[in-house]
């Protein structure tokens, strides 16, 4: 991961788009800052976003580097990370 305190952004790919985000922040924070509100689609098709922020509610699940059901609030962004959300049209 990036150097501590340094303002070197990391590049992630969200729903196919390259994005530059602050280092060390969680995937949930990065997506929130990018204005992506629908992280997953519920079983009845509703959009869902982060709720508990601490790994309990499983509402912020996204696919990270082809692994489904990853909690965005429990994972820090890493340079080159691929994230897939329900906002991908």
């Amino acid at each position: 991961m990036g150097q501590r305190g340094a303002e070197s952004e990391v590049e992630i790919v969200v729903d196919g788009q390259r994005q530059r985000v602050a280092p060390g922040i969680t995937v949930a924070a990065a997506l929130f800052n990018l204005g992506i509100s629908a992280l997953r689609r519920s079983v009845s098709g509703e959009s869902r976003g982060p709720v508990c922020g601490m790994g309990v509610c499983f509402e912020c699940r996204v696919t990270i580097d082809s692994r489904p059901h990853q909690r965005a609030c429990m994972v820090a962004v890493v340079d080159g990370m691929h994230i897939h959300t329900a906002s991908d049209s």
Partner: protein
């Protein structure tokens, strides 16, 4: 109850529910009693695999008959029963097992049950997540899956539509000749059906049924990960051999996209705690067949108790020691499949109709004749 019932069914698991449904359809006034709530015992713990099995000719006859009844009923079931005609693949590890698969196919053909043998390439095509190097499989397209608790509810609702009454949270204290005792209440009736599953001997001492513990693991949703109920051919031996403990590869795709992973068998009484060692063994077996299951997320484990009999056949019919008492219990791991056949057979016997299959192999009297000693 103002008017006394014709039949009291004890146990609102899927077998009791199917008996109540068939009896009510036959015109009897039925009262169903359950100590807890409907579909909450062994029914709730089961996989819900609707499967034709050929461990013995009577087992084949009852499962095949029941499978036909499920196929007829399926279109009328509510959506929450999650009926899925996914079929079964009996997976052969080596040539010896493949030979057994071919023999199984011949037996099925003799009984008019569609089945085809898959080559290793066809198997890999059907289920890409199975490991390479398997010998093949028997595909039984008529098999399927339901979600057992709601299947039991659906059967109970049909019974209720035909005038039956369901009382939950009512524990039966004793069963007498044409009567059931609940606390201070005495319910008189023409016949009593003990469908209390693994608890049946508590009300009818002498029934040789023991709880046979099983574990299941369910994963998060991975739609399309597998498409058929997958069972290793060795499952039959695991189910048949009534010794200590055994595990077998048994994976089921749920309608939700979840994967249900089994199976285990233990004789340890009513200890419902998770046995970590046997879960590990069971999952190791599953990973041996499907290595990529390793990367799926398990969200829950549970245990349940199959009502097991010494000769691997259920007890369906009159209990001759007590006038008016009938038994419908002891279905081991096939209760969901054989519930419909059991209900219909029992109702035919109770009302005196010609049953569709020979009732003798299931008659509880075989226990009194000494077959059931254990």
């Amino acid at each position: 109850m103002t008017q006394y019932p014709d039949a009291v069914v004890i146990g609102a698991g899927i077998v009791g529910a199917a008996c109540a449904e068939a009896l009510a359809r036959a015109g009897l006034k039925v009262l169903i009693l359950d100590a807890s709530f409907a579909g909450g015992g062994t029914t709730a713990a089961g996989m819900g695999h609707l499967v034709v099995m050929d461990d013995s000719p009577p087992q084949l006859a009852l499962t095949a008959y029941s499978a036909r009844l499920w196929t007829t009923l399926a279109p009328e079931l509510p959506r929450n029963v999650e009926h899925d005609a996914c079929g079964t693949l009996w997976v052969a590890e080596d040539d010896e097992q493949l030979e057994a698969v071919r023999a199984k196919q011949r037996v099925y053909a003799d009984h008019g049950i569609a089945a085809e043998t898959l080559s290793p390439a066809q198997l890999a095509d059907a289920e890409p997540h199975l490991r390479p190097g398997l010998a093949g499989a028997l595909h039984v397209p008529g098999d399927g899956v339901v979600y057992p608790p709601t299947a039991a509810l659906a059967l109970l609702q049909r019974a209720i539509a035909n005038g039956a009454e369901l009382r939950e949270g009512v524990r039966v204290d004793a069963v007498g000749a044409r009567e059931v005792i609940v606390g201070n209440e005495r319910i008189a009736c023409d016949c009593v059906i003990n469908a209390a599953g693994a608890h049946a001997p508590e009300l009818t001492p002498g029934i040789p049924i023991v709880p046979r513990k099983g574990h299941l693991v369910i994963t998060d949703r991975y739609p399309g990960f597998c498409r058929h109920q997958l069972v290793e051919l060795g499952y039959l031996a695991s189910a048949h051999t009534m010794t200590t403990e055994s595990v077998a590869f048994n994976v089921q795709p749920r309608a939700t996209g979840q994967l249900l992973i089994g199976s285990s068998r233990e004789l340890v009484g009513w200890d419902m705690n998770i046995n970590r060692a046997i879960v590990r063994k069971m999952l190791d077996r599953a990973l041996d067949f499907m290595p990529s299951l390793a990367l799926t997320s398990a969200i829950r484990t549970w245990t349940g108790f199959r009502p097991a009999t010494p000769d691997k056949l259920p007890l369906i019919g009159a209990w001759e020691d007590t006038p008016g008492l009938w038994i419908a219990a002891g279905h081991e791991g096939l209760g969901i499949t054989t519930s419909l056949g059991t209900g219909q057979l029992l109702a035919d016997l109770v009302v005196g109709h010609e049953p569709a299959l020979d009732p003798v192999p299931y008659a509880p009297s075989r226990v009194l004749a000494g077959i059931g000693t254990h």
